[in-house]
Symmetry: C2
Subunit: 190 residues, 2 copies
């Protein structure tokens, strides 16, 4: 793709539609690209949580963040994002998911539809009013298209009175470039 | 909608993915909002074409642009966008469509699927390499959903070797907020 990248678009959403930046979460920190992006967005008295089930990903992310010498409050959590509520006991303002496998790895470990849907349900529960969930979906690998279908199905079913759900995807491609789903919790609800 | 607006997104596309800004076109200038946006993007030696089938729309747009006293080369054309090649005899770098009726009007005049598809075919022909077509689709009015379906069908069928086609839409809403389709002509083709 020589244009409109899902990752860039996901950052645009955070830049434009994130109302508060107190508590942010990277659900799948991978090599830390999004974690670094979020680290630069967070309020000075806020907190960032970076999850990944792979120790290698946590190490890579930690290194990337520490190099920048940012003065932020960040927890690195080497656990799956389906356990997010074991570690985060506050309302969150924004969370980003990258679904697929760790870039550069052997693709043995990847996100799975069951744990992803579990995690999304938890995120909806702990999302603050006006909060934003952004999901970047890679689906070329084995199981990827099933996970994408499950997430789309989940997202389509969300109550329009409570959430606005956006889908950003390429519709004429032979391969599957990354797609984005954004879920925003409306402000006017409890 | 309290968030992610199609119109804002369409401008983001022009801000980020328009490679050249020499010849730009507003296919449906309406009240001139997009025309003004494009007028501020155009190169100093470039040219902007503003089409609308309604005289009222042309007058509103002209007024809006003239108020800003921009030093640009602009043609106002009171004709339908299906006749674009009667007036534009150069390769175009970017074109924007707003499909629906003139905001504030009596909804009697609106874009129609046949002329829209005719116009899109012409735009593809005269689009420069790296050029961008952005279509903002309103579909709540009578005939709107048929026009949307026709445009989506057209867009999905475009050759992926020649074009990247993006769809931005809300997937859990009761009503139909504006959707966006972006077509980018790949650089590596003749």
């Amino acid at each position: 793709m020589d244009l409109m990248q899902g990752v860039e678009f996901s950052h645009w959403l955070f830049n434009n539609y994130l109302e508060n930046k107190n508590i942010l979460v990277d659900a799948t920190c991978g090599n830390g690209k999004d974690t670094l992006f979020l680290a630069n967005k967070i309020d000075s008295n806020g907190k960032l949580y970076a999850f990944d089930i792979q120790k290698e990903a946590i190490n890579n992310t930690k290194k990337k963040i520490e190099e920048k010498e940012l003065n932020i409050n960040i927890d690195y959590i080497n656990d799956g994002h389906e356990n997010i509520d074991k570690y985060v006991n506050k309302k969150i303002d924004g969370i980003i998911y990258n679904l697929g496998f760790l870039p550069g790895s052997k693709k043995e470990v990847k996100t799975e539809k069951e744990t992803t849907i579990t995690s999304l349900n938890i995120s909806l529960d702990i999302l603050a009013k006006g909060g934003l969930i952004v999901i970047v979906i890679y689906s070329e690998h084995e199981g990827g298209s099933e996970e994408k279908a499950a997430v789309l199905n989940f997202a389509r079913g969300l109550n329009y009175k409570k959430y606005n759900v956006l889908h950003y995807h390429f519709i004429n491609q032979k391969k599957n470039p990354p797609e984005v789903i954004a879920i925003k919790k409306r402000n006017g609800i409890k």
